[in-house]
Symmetry: C2
Subunit: 217 residues, 2 copies
């Protein structure tokens, strides 16, 4: 802000700001020599928008059927499952409502906590088991716990669930890279942030991008 | 994960993983020639831990009194205010409880929504006004909306609030950099992520880092 310049930012429409932001991101990507594929652009742009981190233009990978299967599921009012309440908070409620979709996170569930304690495993693990039981064909948004993603992969192997889409974007330094590489071998539709980066915010952003494409005209 | 190697990740203790993660981050920072100051290390490490983005080692800036004032406020059971429900979700409830602190976000408040509509301004703006009225000396964690940070700065100028600490880490491409530079001139303790990066997750991570330092033995 220049010296003496009056702040006139407060009336600006959030949708207008978002539009300008996306234009800036696209322009900078072009200047970096990165061309996004048209059908996946909305997902890449929103991941970058939510983090200001251009690495997502390179590290997001999609199975061939990911967007198609994900959109189909959203259109038929699937349930979206997150591995954190933060991810749950970040997923747009209006868009969910328009699509008639549900939203669940079992991390703070008392029964899950009790079971995890009893079995000496993490709540992330038990919450995936619970989700697989109730919503075997849901969209799974894993933005935090690699153990959640690993357990989900095992549940798929065991035939206990067959997610419409796995958004596999846990963040971190231990087991994270491996958990993401592993889920990509399970034969289910996936969107994965390869490498260490990701987060509940990225998971929510990817899910929102898909929903906005279907609900915003 | 190597072919044929059995997954044995599921029993690992989350606290153990966190410890190993922090050790990896410190080692990589050393190899990058970055030496973190001892008193601020917990904040830097947790911001990097939550994003896997080493940029935070360079872009986080602190006013001289930021940590001292923030810790004082947390110890006396201040109220933490966030600009998103996602940020609110990410702030550790156990640590808040141990410290006797409150946690508020007015973004989804019906009265705030109605007032914003009536005045043709964003909910972010009205939610800051509401927070300033109720908790003028709280800790403000702004991880999303530059307009929230700007309105907060104006409210400080108008003598309507004097936050114990502003964690100013909105993310984005329009007005974001300017809003952060501006809040740093307001004479209140701040922790700011300079540049475009930040987010509700980063804001929560910084607040959690400060709380964990006081509550974990």
């Amino acid at each position: 802000m220049l010296e003496g310049e009056k702040l006139k930012l407060l009336e600006i429409n959030p949708m207008e700001i978002e539009k300008r932001s996306f234009a800036i991101i696209e322009e900078e990507l072009r200047s970096m020599g990165i061309e996004l594929s048209e059908d996946k652009k909305h997902v890449y742009l929103r991941a970058i928008h939510t983090s200001a981190d251009f690495d997502y233009a390179r590290n997001l990978v999609f199975s061939n059927d990911a967007l198609e299967r994900g959109e189909e599921a959203l259109k038929r009012g699937t349930v979206v499952i997150t591995d954190t309440n933060m991810g749950k908070s970040g997923i747009n409620k209006q868009a969910l409502k328009k699509l008639g979709c549900g939203l669940e996170c079992f991390m703070a569930d008392e029964q899950v906590a009790a079971l995890a304690k009893e079995r000496h495993v993490t709540r992330a693990i038990v919450s995936m088991e619970q989700a697989a039981k109730l919503y075997p064909n849901g969209i799974y948004v894993i933005g935090n716990a690699p153990t959640a993603l690993i357990r989900l992969g095992e549940l798929i192997d065991e035939g206990k669930c067959q997610p419409a889409l796995v958004i596999g974007v846990p963040v971190g330094f231990v087991n994270v890279v491996e958990s993401k590489e592993w889920i990509m071998t399970k034969g289910v539709p996936y969107i994965v942030a390869k490498g260490r980066k990701g987060g509940s915010n990225i998971g929510a952003a990817i899910c929102n991008a898909m929903m906005y494409k279907l609900t915003r005209t």
